[in-house]
Subunit: 329 residues, 2 copies
Amino acid sequence: MVTVCVDAMGGDESSDVVLEGIHQALVSDPELQVLVAGLPEVVEPFCATHARTQPLVCTQTISMEEHPATAVRTKRDSSIVCSCRAVKDGRAQGFFSAGSTGAIFTAATLEIGRIRTIKRPAIAYAVPGLSGKKTVFLDLGANADARPATLVQFAYMGRAYARNILHVKDPSVALLSNGTEPTKGSEAVIAAHKALVEAGPWFSGNCESSDILAGKVDVVVTDGFTGNVVLKMIEGTVKYLYTQLKGQAAQNIGYAVGLSLAKGALKRIAVDLSGEEQGGAMLLGLKAPVLIGHGSTSVAAIKHGTLACAHAIRSNLASKIASDLVRES
Amino acid sequence: MVTVCVDAMGGDESSDVVLEGIHQALVSDPELQVLVAGLPEVVEPFCATHARTQPLVCTQTISMEEHPATAVRTKRDSSIVCSCRAVKDGRAQGFFSAGSTGAIFTAATLEIGRIRTIKRPAIAYAVPGLSGKKTVFLDLGANADARPATLVQFAYMGRAYARNILHVKDPSVALLSNGTEPTKGSEAVIAAHKALVEAGPWFSGNCESSDILAGKVDVVVTDGFTGNVVLKMIEGTVKYLYTQLKGQAAQNIGYAVGLSLAKGALKRIAVDLSGEEQGGAMLLGLKAPVLIGHGSTSVAAIKHGTLACAHAIRSNLASKIASDLVRES
């Protein structure tokens, strides 16, 4: 049995969507217990009617629009802060929320805490590639600037994720740059390249952003500024293509028929990219697994996020990152 | 009459494609003269049979794989270096090549030279947006690192491009960041935000990468590292979606019919994004217009690139950038 704390108040949709997602996760995983965090009127009726659940009652919520650090500091009884405290106190072994990334990151770092040797936790996402293979991509926004030593730690954490969650043997790590040559990149990237060469034989050199979705690399590391900009560019391009296709379908009956026939394929791709089936982005470097729901909230996304968090707990990801760091550095 | 120098040796395809593109540009624009740069066996027969052309004979070529600075330094009789020298000497008023971006940038900066007050020339591309509106996006790779003062100059140059080539009145400029708040971004981006606020009322604040294809902003500035990574991510995502759609079509007859019907729409979008119809990316900050063909070379791309270069010459873009800088700074 593992216990995942799930934030019933997080996400774009109503908490009914989150609760239904939790319900489906419980049905699918009989070894799962859920600590359901939220306002009493939301979580108490649900837990009263669901086995293997417990309410974690709180009085506040943090919205997507609030300033993360301020919200975490002032709303000590919010579902996000209470959840992280519950993980710290051992009432749950991991946390999943589809709420504000910044608030989850701040609260988790403060309450759950970093693995001792990790300087900066990072946000990682396993991007589905063309080859059917996933690429672990980090950092996606936790650290706008990252020194060479920090990027080396990202590499260790990304390798641990690829090994333990995606079951890749001896994962290779590439550094995102604007060209494959070691001399390419900003001053910070060129310095990081040198540090990674020294870090280990698993460093495969620079890669370009177009390689990420090609499924050519196991792990790609970058600073949180670049990672965030790249991730949003993937989303923006998908939206652009879909809207353009719809616009052209409106002008041409052949295109319209084509688009309606191809809709299933497009939806399948959107689901792959949104991470609905893999549950979301993972905070790496903390003492317990924390998952952030990515994309617009849906019942399936909440279900898969909860299950993915349970999987990370069972994989002992946090302690494996810690032992990898000791071994590799 | 304007004279554009076109590199007959540049591009992925044979020089026949380039020559056919030049031919079509000459047919479409009766006020155009072309100085055709290349090996004698390529350019001399073509010029002998085409009015309004002159050969610019050279003995060397620079390939896509060569190190740009080394190639420009050692191959003084290459088509790229000879073309830039011809612009400097007044034999042509602008240059278009589908060759190596790095080599064109280096040779043009050295031979044609910068506008006096411009510290760092930049590569700009007018990205087609969802609203039908184009967004001038720079720098795309000329300057991996860019100080705040450099980004302010990029803003002036981007505004001049939007005003004179895209005919936008008083263009607004946004700074690419990982969030819209002024506090978001790397240290360099936060400092650039402050400098841009002071630079002028046309600064609309930070934008996110997903805004670029949405067609919401007139000009987006960023350092060349980020710009290059973002541009390649758009290309990578388009390729990903297209390949995934084809893969799914292979498994499902409905999808296959859909995809073949929607193919025209997909091709239309690919042409929009590739810049085939707008000719390519523009070097800004030099004393004469230089255009770099973007995407795989085609007859249409060469034709449009040559015409776009002639248009930039007629718009007096270079001298307008110079006078804007004096007025705005």
